[in-house]
Symmetry: C3
Subunit: 354 residues, 3 copies
């Protein structure tokens, strides 16, 4: 009897599921809430990305593993794929598509499409952990308005390389080096006039990159402190450099800051340099997490952008939390009339991971 | 030995699969068959929707659960996403994208996109269980030609709210209340001239809703009878009200009927009111299920639409059945020449759930 | 204690996973590498298809099974769906969407969309197992430039039938018959002028097929030899016939060859006939697999196409291998200037199945 139960248990676990599926982990999250922004009706939208992903690891022996990860993105309020500017639908597997090898001794090498080393490393130094909400700082002030993909499809995300190799070194005494390098292949980008003219744009439609885009970060992390140095150059040879750090005053209190400089001299005659800085704090108290951030972005010769944000998260479990944000951003977009703008943003919602 | 087997069983179940995946249930179905309609060549198509979904439940303690569900839709004859009128591809997660909380005491609240309370509740009172086949009544006569999404993307499904909150009360002594309320945000709709003119349409392209769309149903269900009262108003302030009931004469025999009224006075000067009714019967005999339905739709001042349908399902198992339908519909589309039309529909196929 | 562990194991295996998911197997692969072609920059791309699929089997008793399979395709270098000519995105479930019944005694019948009998059967006789890499022969020389879907959406794959029935006989003494037959329904194809004129094309846009497309193969396979006879006619009544064979000189050495003839007289006044042949060899040595192939395609009255390819695969495990290819193709495209072309192709990458 016991034997057959055991057989049944093993059969259930291994024949039906493990053999077929143990290689694949399904993961993701749904994030949706009420959003009110200045001059907009009450909307339903997201705060964090919404993902549905598939990943796996295969032990190749001798400490070597094969790894893969493909990740869909979607908008829970409309059921569409993740949308970029102008309602453009992004790639079906917008999150990432990567395959590679990993070992504790040699690190991880992957090929495909994903966040660049800079975009991925910087998230740990942003008070909202890098979510794309307008209340957070990642997609604008944290990167000083820089884009990693200027020649990609219009509406594409601005923090990924397509056609790239990704290398992450092992963590040695807290130090890690992360690099991403892309090919120069064309990627269906729109015209980018740059230093050219409408008739002879610097980058015509579907241009090759004028140099290999690459990204490199060095990080040092302990339980008490973290530091990041980062440098990235995109397909139109804009560059971004960033220094960031955090300090854990206690396990519950994290203070962080980042300074980022963006250089567009390869494609601009004026307004070439942008400097931005962000300060943030996280305070965890039981199931509650309090988030605060303030930052400025100063494009040379244009309006300064100032953003102040407060966030609150209440964990119902390890996988589910409620959130409330309020934020004010002045002067955006960077190239705005001298009067500037002031946009308030309020959000109230739920995030569930699976 | 037994211990290691146990450990293996536990490891297999929990380390490899349960921790990673017990949160996610993959479900769906494939439905495909041969279809012959008047004046069309023999086609291959579907009878029911084709779904591939991911859902899960997380126990938050104290009877509270976090729930999510995201559902893709596709066309098995062509491999594309579900297509609406004119071959338009619907959202990738056309079925639904919702996240929320549930408890036995307080009911279920969700946010995202899905069927409205009316569209979902009415299916139990339709002889074909609400499938979108032309042989069934759900998408036209059951709702008196009403659409829940008049300002959505052209080709979108007509029975969902995007950007909505969904609340289902607990079932108390057989009674349940279900409500859906949408925001007024714009949803990339086409121009709707309505009471305006071509130059000044009542709803220009990408209009905001002129009022919050909402849907509410009250249902009472026992093993022997079911009753539904429903009211819904869409984004252009058309309304629909419906009364429906079923009686189980025996566990094998279900008789059902519904009367629905659709009021378009907010967007029409004439032909404002449409009344429709549907009668149906299901008879289950062993693995066989017989389905019959008859209904009429009477748009004020336009042709009456009359539909008669017979269906047969033969279950090969709990998850797989074969089906055969025949149906005749006269007078459709509602706004048709006085001569009317008569379309026969025959279908023969298979439905497999997983 | 043991009992509760058992209960836990069973609960974990059956309640959380097996009941919900044992019906669904998730499978797929990621294939990405560096590609260099004559007159192109170094690219990142694929060698084999990239798939994410869901399939399952249900035992219906008496040896009968219900089966389904739906398969997404994607490009790992950009995260998009699989792209055809001109960057056109193919259907979301490009791989296949099929449902059907199977028994050891009667064979397998399926309905939906997938590879035709000819396209599927011929892969076993191609040195690269039918992968779509330009280094391989499947998509051009193996089929003598034939397309199975001339009236499908532009950019669609050329080896599938939409709207089809698929029957595979049981294997009897090594013999098997495989057939595919499609309906004549229109499939959003572009204009095909054929024997008509621009003003009166032989097949206007979105034409019905002029005859039911069908495909039939007979195969005979043992451990030592394999033979295939194939005949297929597409929606514009082009036909293809093929004879192929392989011999296993030893378990490690496979030699193979195929001759294929393509007849386009229904849509062409000249250049109606194309003949092609491919010879190939596989040699397996431990974890290494060596691949060689040579072929010619000879379109009546046009340039001859000649292709020579070498491939190498090194298995890191049963599911992961590295590969390196080099190939030269002369004279392509078939309708090319008399000078012809010569394109070298080099690839180096990794393929991981899950």
């Amino acid at each position: 009897m016991k034997k057959s139960l055991l057989a049944l248990a093993l059969f259930g676990a291994f024949a039906g599921v493990a053999q077929a599926q143990s290689a694949v982990v399904i993961y993701g999250n749904v994030d949706a809430g009420l959003i009110k922004r200045t001059n907009q009706t009450l909307n339903i939208g997201k705060r964090a990305n919404n993902t549905l992903g598939f990943k796996g690891t295969e032990d190749l022996g001798s400490g070597l593993k094969a790894i893969f990860q493909v990740e869909m993105r979607y908008e829970p309020d409309s059921g569409t794929l993740e949308q970029g500017a102008g309602g453009v639908q992004r790639p079906t597997f917008q999150g990432q598509t990567r395959v590679g090898l990993e070992s504790a001794a040699m690190g991880m090498i992957r090929i495909g499409r994903g966040l660049t080393a800079f975009q991925e490393s910087s998230m740990a130094f942003e008070p909202f952990r890098g979510i794309p909400s307008p209340a957070a700082f990642q997609t604008d002030l944290m990167v000083a308005g820089y884009t990693s993909d200027p020649l990609g499809l219009p509406g594409n995300s601005t923090n990924r390389f397509s056609n790239a190799l990704f290398y992450n070194s092992p963590v040695m005494s807290g130090f890690q080096v992360n690099t991403t390098i892309g090919t120069r292949e064309a990627n269906q980008g729109a015209v980018l006039i740059g230093r050219g003219t409408g008739a002879a744009p610097q980058y015509p439609a579907n241009s090759l990159a004028s140099a290999n885009p690459f990204s490199i970060t060095g990080t040092y992390k302990t339980a008490a402190v973290g530091v990041m140095l980062a440098y990235e150059r995109n397909a139109v040879e804009s560059t971004v450099r960033s220094v960031a750090a955090y300090v854990m005053l206690s396990p519950a209190i994290k203070l962080m800051g980042a300074i980022t400089q963006h250089d567009q001299e390869h494609t601009r005659l004026i307004n070439q340099d942008t400097t931005a800085w962000v300060l943030g704090a996280n305070y965890t108290l039981g199931a509650s997490k309090f988030i605060a951030g303030y930052g400025q972005k100063d494009p040379d010769g244009l309006n300064k952008v100032k953003q102040f944000s407060l966030g609150y998260e209440y964990s119902l479990s390890k996988r589910t939390y409620l959130y409330a944000d309020l934020s004010n951003k002045k002067g955006a977009p960077a190239i705005a009339p001298a009067t500037g703008t002031s946009i308030n943003h309020y959000a109230l919602g739920v995030n569930h991971s699976f």
